[in-house]
């Protein structure tokens, strides 16, 4: 019914001439939410206004802590008891202020007119009910419908979200489905009552890159056919660019800038938007010296796990081969990317190479020295020369130890530095080279943000002056702009200290920015390897091509 294509309107027109293009379906003005915490009140959302019109997709972009999820939950009325919405806030849905609704009115709205899908599809489905039962319940809560009719409708929904063979899937339990399929079920449940508005809160963050594109395409197609309005909450700018009509950029609980997607990406106005757009990983690894010697070599490395199969009376062991006779060679000053989807065995392979996990077969050479049969005791002298940085900086730092103790521990264990002062001097140096101030020795990890914690973890590794560092997805738990800083830091450290990296990642954008060579893994096997530019521009296998497409184009 819109006479004007609202998606092409500039911000001021969009907000002031709403009458000309029809009423917005959701009109939020000056939303502010405070949270009660130990030390008083925290402003999670300070002043957010947005409009959502029928049939359009708006994206709310921001880094963690920007208040984008809280805004979405306010619309849904799903805030915790600790939260208070300020009095001047108003969220009009169809001309009525939902913030003034009673619990009963809200329930009638939720899952019916406005529905939401969440980031983690495993925890948002109830594991003890079949998916059919859960969707049928979602329908029957809001509509008078017999069980059989609801079942019919469920099958139709499953077909709509392209679940293969819906007649048998309807009786399956969530654990029998893959992550991508579970997210499809969540979408089916959200669509069960043909809502006017679908709020998608980071719908693909927990999924593999190749699945991400499928889910987003599905949401877009459904939006077109059903005429819904979609609020897409994400931190991923590639997703925003391809799937949204209009963008709101949030930082610290405020909308910093909003514009049509095209205009925003072409001509960002606010410094924060520019900063965000600039933080896509870029640059390339600096060229490595010619004919450098190999530092780490794996030959036919094999890791398998024994799984219990069969029942109590017929015990059987089933072998799961996680790493299937792989060979790899890493040179000094080189960064080798190890890429694959989750479950491809890349982390297992990496950990086996540094002997944090036992390899069943093959040979591992570190600096020409075979280490595959060394015990933990015998490995000890080599430990300071090979280090690991883990994915999650929140679990890799002991919460009971101060930053100084954490970094110093490696020096104490390896008896580096004669006196305590000498060791502390090295700790300070390590902090400096990780880009942190050196006066934080007595602080505890919980006082730092994710990016800062990852720097502390890097400082811990660097303090030992290793020759080789295993980087196990060091950037994937971090915000985009922090990610760019960490990549920059890793590149700098490599140049200064001549480090070699084995970089495990699923994100080809980061891999391109950091690695010299790349090895692509799938189901415990290497499917492709070569210089990073070759592999990314001319992928030889379909699998690599899918990964590349997912990383750089998403929807292509």
């Amino acid at each position: 019914m819109a006479l004007v294509d609202i998606t092409t309107l500039a911000p001021e027109q969009r907000h002031d001439h709403a009458a000309a293009i029809g009423e917005p379906i959701i009109d939020a003005r000056h939303v502010a939410v405070k949270f009660k915490v130990e030390s008083g009140l925290v402003d999670a959302v300070k002043d957010v206004s947005f409009q959502l019109y029928r049939g359009e997709t708006i994206a709310v972009v921001g880094e963690s802590g920007s208040g984008k999820s809280v805004t979405a939950r306010t619309v849904m009325g799903l805030l915790t008891k600790r939260a208070t919405v300020s009095d001047q806030s108003s969220i009009q849905y169809d001309g009525k202020n939902v913030l003034k609704f009673s619990d009963r009115q809200r329930r009638a709205l939720r899952g019916n007119r406005i529905s939401m899908i969440f980031q983690e599809p495993m925890s948002s489905l109830n594991p003890v009910y079949t998916i059919g039962a859960q969707i049928i319940e979602a329908i029957r809560v809001h509509q008078r419908m017999s069980r059989a009719e609801a079942r019919e409708r469920t099958l139709e929904l499953l077909r709509q979200v392209q679940i293969p063979d819906p007649e048998s899937r309807i009786n399956q339990y969530p654990h029998q489905l893959s992550g991508g399929q579970r997210q499809r079920i969540m979408i089916a449940m959200a669509l069960a009552n043909s809502p006017d508005v679908l709020i998608a809160d980071e719908p693909t963050t927990a999924l593999d890159v190749t699945v991400q594109a499928q889910i987003l395409n599905l949401i877009r197609d459904l939006q077109k056919t059903l005429g819904m309005a979609v609020i897409l909450i994400t931190h991923d700018l590639t997703v925003v660019r391809q799937f949204s009509d209009y963008v709101y950029v949030m930082q610290n609980g405020e909308v910093k800038e909003h514009n049509t997607t095209l205009a925003l990406f072409e001509n960002p106005q606010h410094p924060y938007t520019r900063h965000l757009l600039n933080s896509e990983p870029k640059g390339r690894a600096n060229p490595m010296p010619m004919d450098s010697a190999a530092i780490l070599e794996g030959r036919d490395v094999r890791v398998s796990f024994m799984l219990k199969a069969g029942g109590f009376f017929k015990p059987q062991l089933k072998e799961l081969v996680a790493v299937d006779s792989l060979s790899i060679k890493l040179h000094r000053h080189e960064t080798l990317g190890l890429v694959g989807e989750s479950g491809s065995g890349k982390t297992t392979f990496g950990q086996a190479l540094v002997k944090l996990m036992r390899a069943d077969g093959g040979e591992i050479l570190f600096d020409g020295q075979p280490i595959q049969d060394k015990t933990r005791e015998e490995m000890r002298p080599l430990r300071s020369r090979m280090q690991v940085v883990f994915q999650d900086p929140f679990s890799s730092l002991n919460p009971r130890m101060s930053v100084g103790q954490i970094i110093e521990e490696g020096l104490v264990v390896n008896k580096l530095g004669a006196t305590r002062n000498e060791r502390l001097e090295r700790v300070r140096e390590a902090l400096n080279s990780a880009g942190l101030p050196n006066n934080i020795l007595s602080r505890f990890p919980h006082e730092f943000s994710g990016g800062q914690r990852q720097r502390i973890a890097i400082a811990r590794a660097v303090a030992l002056e290793p020759e080789f560092i295993l980087l196990d997805e060091p950037t994937s738990a971090l915000d985009l702009s922090v990610q760019a800083q960490i990549i920059e830091l890793l590149r700098k450290l490599q140049d200064e200290k001549g480090l070699s990296y084995l970089f495990i990642s699923h994100d080809l954008k980061v891999v391109r920015a950091l690695c010299h060579r790349v090895v692509v893994m799938q189901h415990g096997k290497i499917v492709e390897e070569g210089p990073v530019e070759d592999v990314l521009t001319h992928p030889k296998t379909a699998y690599t091509e899918r990964l590349v497409r997912a990383a750089f184009e998403v929807a292509a």
């Binding site: 000890r380 300071s384 280090q387 994915q391 264990v413 602080r443 505890f444 919980h446």
Partner: protein, 373 residues
């Protein structure tokens, strides 16, 4: 670009007041927010003071005998004519008249001789903290006459003073048992959970065996093994040994579970990656993180031992006279006629209740406070 990297890191300055605080300060701040936790803490502290300075707080020598089953003396601030006077009480004496039904001498307050009460009065001789001889008491009659605020037992001994002295044995048993249980349970649990393998498998079967034992019959059987003629301290040690031997298994189970989870966490693997020894990993990384759980378990285990002691004492299996304990005092209440006629000898129950509540409340408060991260 490199300059960018440097300046990009803005380390948060700790907010004024409580930034950069130690772990214990953080726990304390969070415990203070819990109303029941603080109440528990205050009560526990009071109990401990009473236990340590039992002689000082007891108005009467707990071994002094007087009128049997004398009812609690009341404190009045008026005399017989209703005039306001200094707080006083009347000693209970046996009259010459007999009860027409039971033919026992009728006991009642001796209004003729009021006893003025006061704080820090002189009473029986004792050694303060076992060292300094003194006769000062927290409160009592100003002229040193025994005051039985909770009445007397069958030998005419002051119940209140015996409760104060009995708390010593009851809490000593509880604390010793819990200490042994914690040390053994934590060690076994951490070792078993961290090293795993065959040792863990067998250790866990053994733990299950201990847990599956029918505990009560075992207590009774074991305590009756020891000869009645054995000296009291041997008997006490034996009771403690039996309680600890049956109690450590639960603690080791809990600690093992926690250790299993911690051993897989990234910072433990990071420690392995820097070449840390098992000993270092256990003491630096696992132990401090298990500790919070253990502290809570300890505060919750103490009341259960107090309860067990009072129960076994009631059955006559825990402590033998002349030691005093709450359980032993309750042994006198085992006949119906006694409870019916002299209900005040049940008052140790109130102290058991207070102790259990105090430690449980403190434990609950601590549970919320110890994991601030």
């Amino acid at each position: 670009m490199k300059a960018d990297v440097q300046t990009a890191v803005i380390v948060p300055t700790p907010p004024a007041g409580h930034g950069n605080e130690t772990y214990s300060a953080l726990v304390w701040r969070r415990l203070k927010r819990s109303w029941t936790g603080m109440a528990g803490l205050v009560l526990v502290c009071m109990l401990m003071l009473i236990t340590i300075f039992a002689e000082f707080f007891s108005p009467v020598d707990p071994k002094l005998t007087g009128v049997a089953f004398a009812p609690p003396q009341t404190i009045s601030i008026t005399d017989q004519e209703g005039n306001l006077v200094w707080p006083r009480t009347y000693q209970v004496g046996e009259g010459t008249e007999l009860d027409p039904i039971t033919f026992q001498p009728i006991v009642g307050p001796d209004y003729a001789n009021p006893l003025d009460l006061g704080f820090f009065v002189k009473g029986f001789q004792y050694r303060f903290l076992g060292l300094i001889p003194t006769d000062r008491h927290f409160f009592g009659a100003t002229n040193g006459t025994p005051v039985n605020l909770l009445g007397t037992d069958k030998f005419g001994r002051d119940v209140l003073s015996r409760i104060f002295h009995g708390s010593r044995v009851s809490l000593m048993i509880a604390l010793t048992v819990v200490f042994i249980v914690t040390v053994v349970g934590t060690t076994v649990g951490m070792v078993s959970g961290y090293f795993g393998g065959r040792f863990d498998t067998w250790m866990q079967r053994f733990v299950e065996l201990v847990l599956a034992f029918p505990q009560l019959p075992l207590y009774l059987a074991l305590t009756s093994l020891i000869p009645v003629t054995a000296p009291t301290n041997v008997f006490l040690a034996f009771v403690i040994f039996v309680m600890s031997a049956l109690g450590w298994a639960q603690m080791s189970r809990e600690v093992r579970g926690k250790t299993l989870a911690l051993a897989r966490i990234d910072y433990v693997r990071a420690a392995m990656a820097i070449g840390a020894t098992d000993r270092r990993i256990i003491f630096q990384h696992i132990f401090p993180n298990v500790m919070s759980h253990v502290i809570v378990s300890v505060t919750l285990a103490i009341p259960s031992v107090v309860l067990l002691e009072s129960f076994l004492g009631f059955l006559g299996f825990a402590v033998k006279p002349p030691l005093m304990s709450w359980g032993l005092m309750l042994q006198d209440t085992s006949t119906y006629s006694v409870i019916g006629s002299y209900p005040w000898i049940l008052s140790p129950v109130a102290f058991v209740l207070i102790t259990v509540f105090a430690f449980n409340a403190l434990g609950d408060g601590l549970r919320d406070a110890v994991d601030p991260y």
